[in-house]
């Protein structure tokens, strides 16, 4: 496997950051030539929590972190991906301004630039804050890391962690959803009914997000008219917007895409790679 990864690393270097049009072709070529077999792959991703607080607001307990890791591990187990966490690495930043950072705001950049906890090539920077405006969380994509490593990671509304105060979004599934993005997945409704959708073959295109608990008995919901016969709207997929207790699946195609994206853009996460061998996650 190590030899194959060396070959892939060249492809990574050839790909300019954000070159999305080329990325699709490259990914297809990569899959056909590598013949990636996700079932044979395993990776453990170290998670570094960075809790932004405003006094007592935003504090996260040991139990919440442990349960969040459990939720991530359960969700990503079918993909062979697990998550680890060391309580000794938890960072708390008491800053009222950063606590309310908006998506892709100057505050977000300042906060991440000052408080990134781990080299993003080797671990996940998991920020919690309270962004407001109905936002539950966001992530950066793998292809963005090389060109903008400071911003890499996921940002979560603090109340979305298990035991949090944001029902029905307090079962830790926002983190599953955002880590899905961080590993290269788009929303299942990406692009609505126009090709190529989420660039995964086994998630039928649907027009827009589903919210709440859409009934299985009322399929196909907002499935696109051109969907293959018998398709169902992916109302239980982690990459949709349904309630936390309604999400429970990644498809095989999504798992393949995650591995391909990791192998192309986050090779340092793969156990056994040259980057990871003998190298604990590099903590700043």
């Amino acid at each position: 496997m190590a030899e194959e990864i060396v070959a892939r690393r060249c492809a990574t270097q050839d790909l300019s950051t954000g070159d999305l049009a080329r990325m699709i072709a490259l990914e297809r070529e990569y899959r056909s030539t590598r013949g990636i077999q996700p079932a044979e792959l395993q990776a453990t991703i170290p998670v570094y929590f960075v809790h932004i607080t405003d006094g007592a607001l935003g504090r996260i307990s040991v139990s919440q972190r442990a349960r969040q890791i459990d939720v991530l591990n359960a969700a990503f187990a079918p993909a062979g991906i697990s998550f680890s966490h060391d309580e000794g690495t938890v960072v708390t930043v008491d800053d009222a301004g950063f606590y309310r950072m908006g998506h892709r705001s100057l505050r977000e950049r300042q906060c991440k630039s000052q408080h990134q906890a781990v080299d993003p090539r080797h671990g996940l920077n998991f920020y919690t804050a309270s962004p407001g405006e109905g936002l539950l969380g966001w992530a950066t994509f793998p292809h963005e890391m090389e060109g903008d490593p400071d911003m890499d990671g996921v940002v979560m509304l603090d109340g979305t962690l298990p035991e949090g105060d944001s029902p029905p979004y307090n079962m830790g599934m926002t983190a599953v959803h955002e880590v899905g993005h961080w590993l290269g997945l788009y929303h299942t409704f990406q692009g609505g009914c126009t090709p190529l959708g989420d660039e995964v073959d086994d998630t039928p295109a649907h027009a827009a997000p589903n919210y709440g608990k859409p009934a299985d008995s009322q399929q196909p919901h907002n499935l696109c008219p051109g969907a293959p016969s018998g398709s169902l709207c992916p109302i239980h997929n982690y990459m949709n917007y349904v309630d936390d207790d309604w999400m429970n699946e990644f498809t095989t195609g999504q798992i393949e895409r995650m591995w391909t994206q990791v192998d192309m853009f986050r090779p340092g996460l793969l156990a056994g790679t040259a980057e990871a061998v003998g190298l604990e996650a590099v903590v700043w």
Partner: protein
């Protein structure tokens, strides 16, 4: 397929239809595009251009939009019925999207149509424009709460509030909206700062700090049983209803940007 450089084109009838110098939906689209444009310039990763079809029907609306917008709206001189598309946009754009009210105008190569109100192949609501533009550009999109659970503030503006004040507010917050009951506009916004600014206008009245947009209805006469009266003007009342399977009256979304008497 996500692209690195996108051109959003507003068709003539998106700009010119309605009761205002420029249609509020066109202003919302422009606001969403320009906010994302500013973010992309700051954060990098992609580029976005906003253009507007200028013909004899839309020339005044394009000028009005340019007066409201804080960034460039590129005018495209296109004859009615002529095709429009990527070739009309500045060099470097990889794809164009035409926001249109119908499917009549032919599209040039490399161009996608967003028909407003079409939930499958268009744009069901202009408030989704920011998300959809991000998707086309391969930009991260935050997970959001169920819109039906989100509340906003409601402000009754004084009679004679200039159209420009309303349109600028929509440009600033593309998810905001208003309707006019009689002579006064009722403005809904999910941004607390904007709500406070509007409520501070002379003669303005705050009707609610937290109202569910999806539960607001306009009904004739008074509030039906179980509904909360927000405002009454003439024979029309704006009310909030509890969850109901057969709600009375007309939904806010169906009368927004219109005058009800």
């Amino acid at each position: 397929m996500p692209v690195r450089a996108l051109c959003l084109i507003l068709d003539a009838m998106v700009l010119a239809s309605g009761d205002y110098p420029v249609h509020p939906e066109a202003v919302a689209l422009a606001g969403a595009a320009h906010h994302l444009q500013a973010e992309l310039e700051r954060e990098g990763g992609a580029t976005l251009t906003l253009a507007a079809v200028r013909d004899e029907r839309s020339a005044a609306a394009v000028a009005a939009l340019q007066g409201i917008a804080e960034r460039e709206v590129l005018p495209l001189n296109v004859e009615p019925g002529a095709s429009v598309g990527l070739a009309d946009c500045p060099g470097g754009a990889e794809m164009a999207i035409l926001a249109a009210r119908d499917g009549k105008r032919p599209l040039g190569p490399g161009t996608l149509r967003w028909q407003l109100g079409d939930q499958y192949y268009g744009l069901a609501e202009t408030r989704e424009a920011g998300r959809r533009l991000r998707e086309e550009l391969g930009q991260p999109v935050p997970r959001t709460r169920n819109p039906e659970t989100i509340t906003g503030g409601l402000v009754l503006l004084p009679a004679g509030t200039p159209d420009e004040t309303l349109l600028r507010a929509i440009y600033e917050q593309p998810g905001a909206s208003w309707l006019t009951l009689g002579e006064r506009a009722v403005f809904y916004t999910e941004n607390g700062d904007q709500e406070d600014r509007l409520a501070a206008l002379p003669g303005a009245t705050r009707l609610s700090y937290a109202v569910h947009r999806h539960r607001m209805r306009v009904v004739e006469g008074g509030a039906p049983p179980g509904a909360e009266l927000l405002h009454r003007e003439g024979g029309q009342a704006l009310v909030v209803i509890p969850d109901a399977t057969d709600p009375p009256g007309t939904a806010w979304e169906d009368v927004r940007f219109r005058t009800v008497r």
